[in-house]
Symmetry: C2
Subunit: 520 residues, 2 copies
């Protein structure tokens, strides 16, 4: 086992227990780890750390930097034991989220493509210890990452000390799936030579300064990947609308007949959209994305995928089994890159990636909230959505038109938090329909979004608001004193529906100008 | 004269009057023109068009697409005569702005780097006629642009018909200053081979399909460039703060000793900041920017500039004279590129551009409003600020801490319109000081911005708001029902100052938790 996993004989001397490795972690340290989605993050060391803290009642506070979200063994355990004091750049863990919203953890939300360079530019705290998961250490002391690459190459370069977790649940056959290419700091950068999703430009290992390694830990804890919700009527409807739109765009000459690479956000809705492709006429699909999900594996199975490039593979538990069982076949269709490459604006704009992301809420002007509910309650973070939306050939956002049993309209007068501005949103799709915002003014956008995307339950409210706002003689028809009333209503009456509270407020004058006439 | 300016003999037959050229413009057309800032835009044809409309009481409505803002002969004349029905992507003209805010013109605000590809992808209306200013038509029927490049190469390629204005006020010696390189549509794009601000990668002319040319018009109307406000105490203070910060960053190893290229927004404040460099120890400055302004010419004069790359030269009237008088010398230090290259994310991120832009207002969370006052009154548009801020090595925003005789705080609880989100703003500088937001959580950012950037007159109000918001137990300390109260106060009492109206609203509990303690 050890012989298979650590081929560099000298390094075998560094093998120790997770408990011993965790002892290196001291109060006040900045710890950076591998991991992107609950894939490829260290598990044994953080578990040992939190166990120690729990048992000894120690007071240890650290800053935790990862590629993106990680599993509960890391984010959950550390948050529940009050170990994390600052968290960068993204998370999806219940305990961690709760601690952030409580104010117990300071959260710094960063575009995922920018994080590696923020570390390289010394913008963040120095990394005292890096903890990275590997499937193998090669003859020359290089590491093979596992199910994600994320910021691992950056950690290995910049951390003062390194703990490596060899995870034996990760197949040794992962070797070859990665393509490690990192960027020097300006002014030494040169073009990134990716001209096609399938281009491999780097190595399949990460070079390590062996002197930095303070511990190697063996573990067999599997990636804590999540089950996805089944596609439902609404997500299937959105997929259909999107595919119909694709047809239309191709016919209009706005998208090439052979399509362009797709990026797809993470989660159930995105997964459903991709599922839609399996029922479509399209094949030879290319993905230049972040995360390889179940639907991409399924599309590979039916021969519809040319290449899926990302920074992590993070399917459901069943999907992960399927991937492990047939890894050699999948490996020929999958490339895992560092997130500074998977999410790089240069490549996204060059390849002409069609970006598909989900929104928490959209407003009638075309702004999108991806991260904070009611203006400040963190859900997950902006993640990579900004990297893609801003540089995409076409930037598409999906959201169901209502939430929480129709008590919430996800189409609101003004989003309570802006992650993607009106300038970065081309298309909005709900189960109600599609708003194509390209070339439209704020007034035209508002009408299109209300007419096409809002739920019928909320259409009147939004129209009344807009009608009143149109009277204000502004470029953007907005009423600052009423724009957030829907959230007030929600807070006080548990619904955004009309009647419970002065909602889009005092709209007594219903005989005003008809906004639809004005918009011609 | 004609012989000098039109070397292609065949094309001389197309010479006609501006009046005749303007006759080609019909109701419902989409017209795209050269021009970026009041530089290099067509003047005679739009003047002739508006004169005709005025005299004949004709009803002609067009969509007008330009590189960015243009002069009054175009934007002003067409707006005042109700000719413009839709305007894309940016403007700075009083009459045009008024018509947009009135609802007479529909305005579509687009990132300047995206506009050329939106045209190439057929996302916008087809261009019926392109009107472009040239200093010269070469032997082979190619055109030499004048003081801006902007979207001219895209117009020449995509417009169905072309009108060329030969402007004899533009020196024939402009030839050689331009570097024309355009991008094919995906999937045919390859890396843009700029590794250094000084790299020339294209031609110094724009190829034209001669069959498209329907008229060539001669004019000698000069670029309607604007006088800049003199640097004042506040802008000088901001320059000093920025230069001190640069020193500090270099010492800390976060910016290379030889500096990196700078981008500078347009206008008086930006000009003052650049002026600061003349008094600094820094030389061999490089600019990878949009607009070459007076301060850059001055820096060239004192030998401090290696290269200034942009898409337009737009100094004051005196600056323009200076440039014309010594064009051969300046030409060796200036490159004018298409805006899809000057503002390209690929190059900006590769070169590590330090982006310096101005804000209309900033909020305590780090969001920036660059475009719309009171949420909807358009000032100019987002312009290129987003292209740079999002891809910069370091994204810096400048604003004086108050406006309109201190009745307005430019640091507000929540910006009334978001152009740059918290994720894209590293540094905020006012005359009061500097907030370094890198690696900070929303709460930490709020404290830093209030303490360092807000004007003392408004500090208490902002602190009280924040203190109250901190109680809400959110990742982002926000009170949606109070966040816009300052704008309500401004609207009703002409000031954001406390006392006139319930401002940051009902902050009766002044004995709450001290937010400063909490932020440790």
């Amino acid at each position: 086992m050890i012989e298979d996993r650590i081929k560099d004989i000298e390094l075998r001397k560094k093998i120790t227990t997770a408990e011993n490795a965790a002892l290196f972690i001291k109060n006040g340290m900045t710890i950076a780890t591998s991991g992107f989605t609950p894939s490829g993050y260290p598990k044994a060391t953080p578990l040992a750390l939190s166990k120690r803290i729990k048992n000894n009642n120690e007071n240890i506070k650290i800053t935790l930097i990862t590629g993106a979200s990680v599993g509960d063994e890391l984010d959950g355990e550390l948050a529940r034991n009050n170990i994390t004091k600052k968290r960068i750049p993204y998370q999806t863990n219940d305990s961690c989220r709760k601690a952030i919203n409580n104010g117990d953890i300071q959260f710094c939300d960063v575009h995922l493509s920018l994080l590696p360079q923020y570390i390289n530019y010394n913008y963040l705290e120095d990394i005292d210890i890096g903890i990275v998961e590997a499937s193998e250490i090669t003859e020359n002391g290089c590491m093979i990452p596992t199910t994600s690459v994320g910021i691992t190459p950056t950690i290995v370069k910049k951390a003062k000390k390194l703990i490596i977790e060899i995870n034996t649940s990760q197949p040794i056959d992962l070797r070859g799936i990665h393509d490690i290419y990192t960027l020097p700091n300006p002014p030494k950068r040169t073009p990134i030579p990716i001209l096609n999703c399938k281009d491999r430009i780097g190595t399949n290992y990460i070079q390590i300064d062996k002197n930095k390694i303070i511990a190697i830990v063996f573990t067999d804890i599997r990636d804590d990947v999540k089950k996805l919700a089944e596609p439902n009527k609404d997500s299937n409807l959105m997929a259909e609308i999107f595919l119909e739109f694709l047809d239309h765009e191709i016919k209009a000459g706005r998208i090439p007949r052979k399509l362009l690479p797709f990026q797809s956000g993470v989660g159930s809705v995105s997964n459903s959209i991709l599922n839609g492709f399996s029922r479509s006429k399209y094949d030879k699909l290319q993905f230049y994305s972040e995360v390889i999900q179940d639907s991409m594996l399924d599309l590979i199975d039916i021969g519809k995928v040319q290449i899926a490039s990302g920074t992590a593979i993070s399917p459901s538990p069943e999907g992960l089994n399927k991937f492990y069982d047939d890894i050699k076949r999948y490996k020929s269709k999958i490339i895992l890159r560092p997130q500074e490459i998977s999410n790089n604006p240069e490549i996204i704009r060059r390849l002409g990636v069609i970006a598909m992301n989900t929104a928490i809420e959209v407003d009638i002007y075309g702004n999108v909230n991806s991260s904070n509910i009611m203006g400040g309650n963190l859900m997950n973070g902006i993640g990579g959505s900004g990297d893609f939306a801003r540089n995409a050939y076409l930037s598409v956002f999906f959201t169901k038109s209502t939430a929480k049993n129709e008590t919430i309209s996800t189409v609101v007068p003004l989003v309570s938090h802006v992650d993607h501005t009106e300038h970065d949103v081309n298309i909005i799709i709900t189960e109600q329909g599609i708003a194509d915002l390209r070339g439209l003014s704020p007034k035209e956008r508002a009408i299109s979004i209300i007419n096409n995307c809002a739920n019928p339950i909320y259409k009147d409210l939004l129209s009344d608001y807009l009608k009143e706002a149109m009277k204000s003689k502004k470029n953007i028809p907005i009423l600052l004193n009423r724009a957030f009333k829907c959230f007030e209503s929600l807070e006080k009456t548990d619904t955004m529906k009309r009647g419970n509270i002065v909602y889009y407020a005092n709209l007594i004058n219903r005989k005003g100008d008809d906004y639809e006439e004005k918009s011609k």
